[in-house]
Symmetry: C2
Subunit: 255 residues, 2 copies
């Protein structure tokens, strides 16, 4: 097992932020680990960014900081394959409608490639978990997962496969239009940990019934879906409070 190789260390407003690199197979996976200042150990939430985003995207950064300040948690984010520092091409900013068109027009080869990238991302997260279990402060867990959209496409199979993760927030994803279709549904059915599923009623990337079908498929006894009006990138800020309340309920505050 490779250890995390630290590359920077800054503490700001009571939150320590360390960047790291982790060798997984042939890849150097860059990541960030946040932790609450003044604590010796903490629960940790793995933060999975969305498509076209990266480990330091504003939504990830603000969630990491608030989890540290409000709950005394650590957080970890990594760049998914072909995202952030791992992009091989230029950075594109595309909206949800363009994204929908692009996904709809993907060739079989492109679908297979995307699916393979997501599998790779799952393996990388598991290597990160291995490394965290050998990292002071992070080592004892418990571990949770948060990630919507691509963060769910990667995170849901991760949480289904790895029982070190004991609570998960997913969302902005559905069944029936996914590149890995039935396999994704199977993994949803295999989930057993408490899940908060966040959904947008007017998501441009999928039909309502697809999101409802994913919530329905999730095998966990404890699962809650929150639905708000608006598009893929219009989730209201109060859902951040709900995420915090969810983790507080299932993992507890680190007092």
């Amino acid at each position: 097992m490779e250890p995390l190789s630290w590359t920077s260390d800054v503490t700001e407003q009571r939150v320590r932020e360390r960047t790291f690199s982790l060798k997984v197979g042939d890849e150097d996976v860059p990541g960030i680990a946040w932790s609450p200042e003044g604590k010796d150990r903490w629960p940790t939430i793995l933060l999975g960014h969305g498509g076209t985003q990266d480990k330091r995207t504003p939504g990830v950064l603000s969630l990491a900081r608030r989890l540290a300040r409000h709950l005394g948690y650590g957080s970890v984010a990594i760049d998914a394959p072909e995202h952030g520092e791992r992009r091989s091409g230029p950075h594109e900013r595309i909206g949800p409608r363009q994204m929908r068109e692009r996904v709809a027009s993907m060739t079989e080869d492109q679908r297979a490639e995307m699916s393979a990238r997501n599998e790779m991302a799952v393996a990388e997260w598991r290597a990160v978990l291995d490394a965290l279990q050998a990292t002071p402060g992070f080592s004892d867990g418990p571990f949770g997962y948060w990630g919507v959209s691509m963060g769910t496409a990667i995170g849901l199979p991760l949480v289904a496969a790895d029982d070190r993760i004991t609570a998960a927030v997913f969302g902005l994803a559905g069944l029936g239009s996914r590149w890995d279709g039935e396999r994704f549904a199977e993994r949803a059915r295999a989930l057993r940990v408490p899940v908060l599923f966040l959904y947008q009623w007017d998501d441009e990337l999928m039909e309502r019934a697809q999101g409802l079908a994913l919530f329905d498929a999730i095998g966990s006894r404890e699962k809650t879906m929150h639905v708000n009006p608006g598009g893929h990138i219009e989730m209201p800020p109060h859902e951040r409070d709900a995420v915090e309340a969810f983790f507080r309920r299932h993992i507890g505050a680190n007092q």
Copy 2:
């Protein structure tokens, strides 16, 4: 306008509880007003009990107490027509499945009667609001509403009709099987205040699509639906935290 006529006054664990009677037309409507000890004024939530329940049903009582203790709010509950002290027949305890069968087999006359009772309940709540506006502590508002199942059948038309109520929690209700059908949908579309809509995924009283249709019809820009697995009476306790967070967000704590 009739004033509230107080019939008892007890303070227990920092919550003052006064029973009252209010003359509305030919009816003497019995109710309870809760308020936080040590405050001069408070926001007030109207609590609408469910079918077969009454103003002191455990869910209503515990919510009133927690709103007083956690948020410094007052609350008011009244017995709906033919409920609690206003029953003309014996008290029946029937489950959701029996309730569904009963609603399904209602005659046209029975439907009309139920609809008339709900209209009457709306008028009674409005008379309670009039009286509260003349009652020290309660008079300034703001006013919110909470009520699921029959509490929504009555509360939704109330909130649609009375702009003194500025935030509402509804749930366990749907479109398409209601005795007052299209009228109920019109009133849902007329809503403009923030709404939290609580729904049970396996509600024995209605189809999933009926609940989703009601959430969809609600005209408010700010609305959130929370869905949990389980039947009509199996809503998980953590939704009480969500109710509290919702009112805190829209009405604020009374510090």
